[in-house]
Amino acid sequence: MNIIDKAVKIGRTSLSEFEAKQLLTAYQIPVTREALVENEESLLKIAATLGYPLALKGCSADIAHKTEKGLIHLDIRNDQEALTAFKDISTSMKQSKNTILVQEMVQGKRELMAGLTRDAQFGPCVMFGLGGIFTEILKDIAFRVAPLEKLDALEMMKEIRGHNILTAVRGLEAVDKDALADILITIGRIGLENKQIKEIDINPIIISDTRPIVVDALVILDKDQA
């Protein structure tokens, strides 16, 4: 039984970030290297494997927009900082068992986003746009109805006002549009193949050199589709 079925069966309305990333990985969408830890010992072990700098995030299916709750610590440079962050997040989470996500820090100046929504008329629709804080501020987005062909994915990228962010600008290399197109096409496929998924936010997708990598993801479930 997969992650989605399990979650829906016990009445959950979303996947944790870690679960969402596992889902994306199963669909070959590139995500951050990461692991869940529950104590300081495993934290330091994982940190050694992933290598600094790292991000630590409180991980639970109940926590959607995490930034507002102080559950994210970014750019952690060493063991000392990691332990402090672990303690802070554990305190904020106020749960009996604290699960914390340890994640590589992806370096890149460009943040994009992709998502899935279900329209009553058109069914699953894929969204693409500028990511990070600009998503809500600029609402520079484009939609396509699933399934997407490569042409649709490429045209979506051209359609946003800020499309030049994908080109070689200010010393940055041009974004690997094929890789980005694959992500958009696959999100449409996920929507078509999983009725229990109501919405997806993949934000940000950070462009590391040329490659898009999913840094955060939210999957909302529809419990009526159990």
Binding site: S14, G115, L116, T117, M127, T135, K139, F143, R144, K198
Partner: protein, 488 residues
């Protein structure tokens, strides 16, 4: 493949008409008058229980008393009588109908079940129908108009499918002023049986329709719509207006994606996938289809501007740039050639400003031809139409008998305009014009009727040119055709 029911509905050899009388108090009578006076050559059989004749036509007491079945029934009678009439049609061998009467799906639950009843009867008797709650159809090429609105419109190449009856009826006088020629227009109403997809497929195949204008409020069968539209837009342009409020704010969503997913954005994406140009409003819808239906497509986005006045030329250039077209400076060689034939005062860079000049041969032939015949320019925006109407008062004021000067002028002008309208086909490049005068100006009429759109403002001409370019890029894009229809 099943024959599209619209091929009969839009081209019936005979019509049985329900709802007409000798009293103008009913809408049905008014619509019958348009039908009779529009030039339709087929038979019209009005049904009336009491009258022997209706509006001068022989009337029949009921459908079963017809000598032979009509091809189409047009129904404008109160709703409660319609189920019975549909049955009679079926029994008499009439298999196509337009139900104009309202009071069905659009009024809620009760109406929706009445609509279902109509559909069930139609299915049983093998009847295909348009409506209910529609205004009817226009087929300009056979003078068929079942709507309430007047017959003063030109036959042409723009086809219309509308979810609002007003855009195929009340617009007829607007089309006349705009110089837009209509091929066929369909008001789809509630789409209980025949829907927009059927209409698209029909107009897609119609030879006289060279561009399709759509007014959309919602799509019943999105997958079939997409399939049909993509097939059509590979060779024939479709422009759509969708007007839908954003409901995003009202919905409770947990993700940013869903909260930003208003119908407006999704329709834009859907139109892109279908290869449909999305017009921002009804004005653009008809402006663009008028150009797309009549002009060749540009091969690139370099546009030349010829004007006899600075302001309008600049407005055209500015708007062309805003919509993604280029107005590049002409090559030195072309500039030299232009200077050689134009007066010294003119700017030869692009826009070309010929100033107030009445050398008809230069304006309407030599200059456009010179500019468009090379490889550099892909299309022409033209401002400077000046018909004889502007000289009438002046000539009269000088005491000259008008005919002496005016008539030769008119005939020269007509000749020049006739040469001008041949250029797009000859040079395989589009020309669009703007003129603040409308069809009161004889030159505007001559050019519009010759097939080159003349818009009321410079910006509208420029935007229509951008629509031609947008469609040219849609036509060129490579769809994976093997995928089409499989998983959609």
């Amino acid at each position: 493949m099943q024959k599209n029911p619209l091929s009969i509905i839009m081209n019936p050899k005979s019509i049985v008409y329900l709802g007409g009388s000798n009293s103008l108090q009913t809408m049905g009578t008014a619509q019958l008058i348009t039908l009779i006076t529009g030039g339709y050559q087929g038979e019209i059989y009005p049904i009336h229980r009491k009258e022997k004749t209706v509006l001068g036509l022989k009337a029949y007491p009921n459908i079963s008393s017809l000598d032979k079945p009509a091809e189409l029934a047009v129904i404008v009678i109160p709703g409660k009588a319609i189920p019975g009439v549909l049955k009679e049609c079926g029994e008499a061998g009439i298999h196509h109908a337009i139900i104009i009467t309202a009071g069905y799906g659009e009024i809620g639950q009760k109406g929706a079940s009445l609509q279902q009843e109509l559909l069930a009867i139609a299915r049983k008797y093998n009847i295909r129908f348009l409506g209910p709650n529609c205004i009817g159809i226009v087929n300009a090429h056979i003078g068929l108009n079942t709507t309430w609105f007047p017959n003063k419109y030109r036959a042409g190449k723009v086809g219309i499918i509308s979810q609002s009856g007003s855009y195929v009826t009340q617009t007829l006088t607007y089309f006349e002023k705009l110089g837009l020629g209509l091929s066929q227009a369909i008001s789809v109403g509630n789409q209980a049986d025949i829907d927009m997809v059927d209409c698209l497929e029909y107009l897609g195949e119609d030879e006289q329709t060279r561009a399709i204008a759509l007014y959309i409020e919602g799509i019943k069968r999105p997958k079939a719509f997409l399939r049909a539209a993509r097939k059509i837009t590979a060779r024939k342009p479709i422009v759509a207006v969708y007007v839908g409020g954003s409901t995003a704010g009202a919905r409770a969503c947990s993700s940013h994606t869903a909260s930003m997913a208003g119908p407006d954005g999704i329709y834009s994406g859907f139109f892109h996938q279908a290869g449909i140009l999305r017009a921002g409003n009804v004005m653009e819808l008809f402006d663009w289809t008028m150009a797309l239906a009549q002009q060749p497509l540009p091969k690139g986005k370099n546009i030349a501007i010829v004007t006899n006045s600075g302001g309008p030329g600049s407005s055209m250039a500015d708007e062309a740039n805003h919509c993604g077209l280029e107005v590049p400076i002409f090559s030195p060689a072309l500039q030299e050639k232009i200077k050689a034939i134009t007066p010294l005062t003119a700017a030869a860079v692009n826009p070309v400003d010929i100033t107030m000049n009445y050398d008809l041969d230069l304006i309407y032939k030599k200059l456009p031809e010179l500019i468009l015949q090379g490889q550099d320019m892909d299309g022409l925006l033209f401002y400077g139409i000046f018909g004889s109407i502007h000289f009438q008062d002046k000539i009269a004021f000088t005491g000259n008998p008008a005919g002496n000067i005016l008539n030769p002028m008119k005939s020269l002008l007509e000749k020049a305009c006739d040469e001008f309208v041949k250029l797009p086909e000859k040079l395989k490049k589009p020309i669009l014009c703007a003129c603040f005068s409308g069809r009161e100006d004889d030159a505007v009429v001559r050019i519009q009727d010759g097939g080159i759109p003349v818009y009321p403002t410079p910006e509208r001409a420029a935007r229509a040119m951008a629509a031609l370019w947008e469609y040219a890029t849609i036509k060129k894009r490579n769809r994976d055709e093997s995928n089409e229809g499989e998983n959609r």
